[in-house]
């Protein structure tokens, strides 16, 4: 369970979140929607303890992470698998080394074991053939897949966090990523997917949160989202028609 208890956050003088109350179970499949710069990424960074709220508390499984030091946060972060916006692969390392990054540090696997583990994970997201490519040689869709693979390399997270997983992809690739996201959550583990593409969110999530001006303008299911009167959300939803079917 992730709980935001009156969380406010600003970057310098720019107020991003104000007094946000929110609780999300580890099994829930949540889409966080909102325009550019509304603080969607900020929410994910707060959950991982990468930044601290100015006010309020954040509880992960009842554990207050706001007062924790960097070293103590490792266990909290290990509960999640995160795929950052644009994938965030290390561009000085090839695909294999990206996926093996944590394995090399935290396990004592031999070179062959690492190789076969990396191939196995890459295979599970369907990009085994890319193992020796550099990140800049990957297509957008492959890039995201490798990033998902890397986030899965170390054990089993309790929940997945995705930041704009389908942004910048063509409809076919976006659709494939959505399917991968749905597959990974088949066993009941939930996710928080941050996106501004409502069409993709509708495909995979069953709870929708809409961020506007630092607060939650909407929090509910797809029926509620599609029938809301809030003009800001309506504008977002009408985008679907213009985008075609998306995902």
């Amino acid at each position: 369970m992730i709980v935001f208890d009156g969380v406010s956050f600003s970057y310098g003088s720019r107020r991003v979140l104000r007094d946000v109350h929110l609780s999300v179970g580890f099994h829930e499949r949540v889409a966080v929607l909102g325009g550019s710069g509304e603080g969607k990424t900020t929410i994910l960074r707060l959950i991982l303890g990468l930044i601290k709220p100015d006010e309020g508390r954040i509880l992960i499984e009842g554990d207050d992470i706001t007062a924790k030091r960097e070293e103590e946060l490792r266990d909290v972060r290990m509960k999640f698998s995160i795929v950052f916006q644009e994938g965030a692969l290390f561009d000085s390392l090839d695909v294999k080394e990206n996926v093996a990054y944590c394995l090399r540090e935290y396990t004592s696997m031999s070179e062959e074991e690492i190789d076969s583990r990396v191939r196995e994970i890459l295979g599970s997201v369907g990009v085994e053939q890319a193992i020796h490519l550099m990140p800049e040689e990957l297509s957008g869709g492959m890039h995201r897949r490798v990033s998902i693979a890397r986030s899965l390399a170390l054990g089993t997270p309790k929940m997945f966090l995705y930041d704009e997983p389908t942004t910048g992809l063509d409809p076919v690739n976006a659709d494939n990523i959505c399917r991968l996201i749905a597959d990974l959550s088949k066993d009941g583990r939930g996710f928080i997917m941050v996106t501004h593409k409502v069409s993709d969110a509708l495909k995979v999530a069953d709870r929708f949160i809409f961020l506007k001006d630092g607060s939650l303008l909407f929090d509910g299911d797809s029926r509620g989202l599609l029938h809301t009167d809030a003009p800001e959300i309506r504008m977002f939803i009408e985008e679907i028609g213009h985008q075609g079917q998306g995902c």
């Binding site: 290990m78 950052f84 965030a88 930041d163």
Partner: protein, 254 residues
Amino acid sequence: MDIKALLSDLQNFYTLAYRGLLGIVRRPFYFKDAMIQMDYAGAGSLVIVFIVDLFVGMALSLQLSAELSSLGMKMYIGMIVGISVVRELGPVVTALVFTGRVGAGMASELGSMVLGHQVDTIRVFGFDPVKKLVVPRIVSSLIMLPALTVIGVAVSLLGGYYIAVFVSHQSGTFYWSSIRNILTMENVLAGAIKPFIFGYLISSICCYMGLSTKGGAVGLRQSTTMAVVMSIVMIIISDFLLTRVLLYVLGFSV
């Protein structure tokens, strides 16, 4: 920028610079990352250091030769080139080249890692970005800038030799024997301490600027520019202060 922000920036910089230095002697060590940085900073800078220092040595020798010949003291050319290059020009010029090539690279690489959430990823994976990113860069600068400086000084002296012998028609043997005479413990120390200080300054300033990048491409340009400008200014100022202190400590009378 207001005073409060400036002070907190300075404090963050000192903290980073301090932790970066401490990280050299505290676990965990990331040898492989340091090796990659050393290869980039050292081997990668050889050619440009070679070219720049060669021409600095030649220009210096040419200027001196013109001036000294009107005074009839051309035989001092080796001595003056030697002292200027060993104590002052070699370390400073090499450090400036290093800033432009390696420091700017550090700032822009780390900056784009911040913007691309790669630094976030490193933290999520349980690594300390200071240990993983900053320490290897400080180590590589502390080792490679002094090494490059030695090479740069040698190349400058060679450039000076070329001008002294082939343009100014001095005796080559005499040139080298004057160089040997000025290579005293004091002169060598007065030059050799500098690249360690410069290397530490450049790497900590550039890493700090890179890691504090925010705001997209414009922010990246700003932090890279700031990194280079601050490094250059700090090199020049600290060179003066160091010279003052070293000359005093080593017992030169001014």
